[in-house]
Amino acid sequence: MLLSVEPDGPVPIYQQIRDRIVEAIAGGRQPAGSGLPSTRQLAVDLGVNFHTVNKGYDLLRQEGLLRIGRKSGAVVQRDAGSGPPRPDWAQDWAARLQTLLAEAAAQGLPAEDIMRYCCEAIAAFAFPEGQP
C-alpha cells in the first residue's frame, strides 16, 4: 500500500495517516487480515514522530478498523466485506456526512455535481461481489 502525507499541510499528520489507511481499506488495497507496519517503522518511513503514528493508529483502533497485538503487530480488522457496522456508528457518520455535503451546497455546488462526486468516490471502493 502506498501512503503519503503532507507534513506542512493544514490537516494534522496523525489524521492524514488515519484517513489514508481508511481509504486504502475501502479501496481494497488493504483488506481485512492484512498487516500494516509497526508504529515505529511507519514513523521512520514517514520521518515523523513515533507518537504521531501512534495517535493515527489509535483512532483506527477505536473505530474498530485496526487490531494492534503485541506479537501480530497492526492488522486490519474490517473491510467492505465484513458485514454491516454498528447502528450508532452509522448515525454519527451520517451527521458528519451532512456537514460535508452542506459545505458543498453552501459554496454553491449544484446537486447533480455533488451526486457525481459521490458516485465517483463510491465507484473506487471495493465492495464485495453481489453488492451494487
Binding site: L2, S4, E6, G9, Q41, V44, D45, G47, N49
Partner: protein, 364 residues
Amino acid sequence: MSASRLFAEVTVPFFAVTLCLAPAVTRPTLPFGVRVPPERASATVIRHERRIYYVRTAAIGACCIVLAVLLQGYGSWWLTRIILLLEVAADLGCYWLARRKITAVKTAEDWYAGHRQIVATDTSWRTDPPRFPVRWLIPALIVIAVTIIVGALRYPDLPARLALTGRGGRRVPRSVVTAFAVVAVQVYVTALWTGMMLLVYRSRPDIEAADPAASTRRYRRFLAACTRAVLTLLALVNLSMLLVALRNWQVYRLTGAASALPVLPFVVGLLVLAAVSFRVGQGGSRLPGGAGGHGAAAGTDRDDDRFWKAGLIYVNRDDPALLVGSRFGVGWTFNLANPTAWLVIAAIVAVPAGLTAISVTVGL
C-alpha cells in the same frame, strides 16, 4: 613497492575519479545536495554547475595524481596522505560552490511555489521486507576460518620474534596476541560492515513522491546489489589480511613489486563496489523501469534542505530515522540528531581503540 606504498599510490587516483563522478550517481532531483522539483532537474543552472564541477575536480585530481607521482620516494608516507586530504577538501569545496549557486537560483525563483510537498512510503517495504543475503557473507567467514586454521598450524614453528608488516622491520615477541592480531582485525571489519548493512536493511528506503511504487522496486534492487558488492569487498579485504598474515607467519616471502600482492584483493573489491555503485546510482536512480508509470503523482518530494548541513550532514530532531540515504555519491549517512547514531559511532571508534590499548598493554 610495498603493500602500504601501493595502497597510498592507489588512494589519490581512486578518490580523484570517485569524487569527480559522484554527481553522475546522485539522484537527478538532488543535484549537489539541493532538493529540486522533478521538472527543474535539468535547469540551466544545474547543468552549468555540473559541467564546472566536472572540469574543476578533474583538474584537481590530475594535479594531485601528478604531485603524488613526483613526490613518490621522497619524504615519509605521510606526504601521500596530505595530498589525499587536500584533494578531498578541494573537491568538497567545488561541491559547496555548486550547491550555493543552485540554492541561490532555487530560492530566487521560488522553485517550490505551488507544489504540494509530500512524504511518500510503500508499506510493503515493512510487511514484505527484503531479505539480507546471508549466503554472500559465507566467503568472508571462510577466509577468517582459513586464517585461524593456518595460523594455528604455523604457530608452533614460528620464531621467538616476529617481523610484522607495517612496523618498519621491527620485531616483536611471539605470542598469541601478536600472531593473531590480524584475525581480530578481520573479525572486527566483518562484524562492523555486516552490522552496518543490517542497520541499512531496517532503515527507510529512498522513495520518490513522483512514483512511489517504481522507486520502491528500484530501491530493492539497489539495496540487494550494494549489499552483495559490500560483502564481496569484505571477503576480499579479509583475503588481503590473510595474505598479510601468511607473510607475517613466514609462509611466503616476496620482494620488489611483488610485495604489493596482499593489497591487490582489496583494490579489486573497491573497484567492484565503485562499478556497482555507478551502475545502479544512489537509491537505484540509474536503474531502468522508472519514471511516470504507476498512478498519478500525489505531490512533490518535500523540500528538506534545512535538515542537511552543508548538503552532506543530516540533522533532524523530528525524524526518528537512524540512517538515511546520503545526498552525495552512493550510500547512507547517520541522522546526527538521533542519540543512537552517536552510540553507534562511539562503538565503531571504541572497539579498535580498545584493541589498540590492549595490544599496547601486552607490549605489541
